[in-house]
């Protein structure tokens, strides 16, 4: 029995330390990444992965079953709500025309130009030509 407890201790310690390390790395990335969207990408990592690791490690070391249940419930809430919040913030940033870094390859929320005559081209090729050329260049 004590062997199982020791293994649980080691696993919980590794989980908590890695969760804290992910929080620190994401906080450094908030300062170093060039873009609102990239910073949002790095800021949702401690909110999902870091909290999952830390709270799983704490649930392995919890003193009672009710505490462990509350910790798992907190993990589930975070995993559900954090992507939704990140999506809302990204939409809001794009709607308020936040600046895009020069390394951005594709902007899929950019409004499509009107496709008038060429019905044979599907949506994917229209999107591709919309992002590689200006709006008046794709007119046939």
């Amino acid at each position: 029995m004590s062997v199982v407890t020791a293994i649980l201790d080691v696993v919980a310690a590794i989980l908590m330390l890695s969760g804290a390390a992910i929080a620190v790395i994401a906080a450094i990335g908030l300062h170093r990444l060039p873009d609102v969207y990239a910073r949002m990408h790095v800021a949702t990592k401690p909110a999902t992965l870091g909290i999952t690791l830390c709270l799983t490690g704490a649930a392995l070391r919890a003193d009672s079953a009710s505490t462990a249940t509350k910790l798992i419930l907190a993990i589930v809430f975070q995993l559900v709500t954090t992507p939704a919040a990140g999506h809302l913030l990204g939409r809001a940033a794009h709607a308020s025309r936040a600046e895009v870094s020069k390394y951005t390859v594709v902007d899929e929320l950019r409004p499509l130009p009107p496709v008038t005559s060429d019905r044979s081209s599907d949506r994917t090729s229209a999107r591709t030509s919309a992002r590689t050329s200006a709006r008046e260049d794709i007119q046939p």
């Binding site: 906080a27 003193d63 509350k70 919040a85």
Partner: protein, 86 residues
């Protein structure tokens, strides 16, 4: 286990301090919201680890409520920014 929780709490305090420095520097409102969400997630992790350190789980409810309030805060700020611009 006491040493491990101490190191983890120190790392989380460092992460919260770095995120808070990002929040109080001159940046846009979305950057501030993201940085404060980083502070909130560090606080939630810290509450769980402090519960392990103290050996009592009475403060886990605060972590639950904190997570849900963080989501409410972010969605409210997103709605405000999306309606009015930066």
């Amino acid at each position: 286990m006491s040493i491990v929780t101490a190191i983890s709490l120190g790392l989380l305090a460092l992460a919260a301090a770095i995120c808070f420095a990002k929040a109080i520097r001159r940046s846009s409102i979305i950057d501030r919201a993201i940085a404060l969400d980083g502070v909130v997630s560090a606080i939630i992790c810290g509450i769980a680890i402090a519960a392990v350190r103290n050996g009592s789980g009475v403060s886990i409810d605060i972590a639950l409520v904190g997570g849900l309030l963080g989501f409410l805060t972010l969605s409210t700020i997103a709605r405000y920014v999306g309606r009015r611009g930066l």
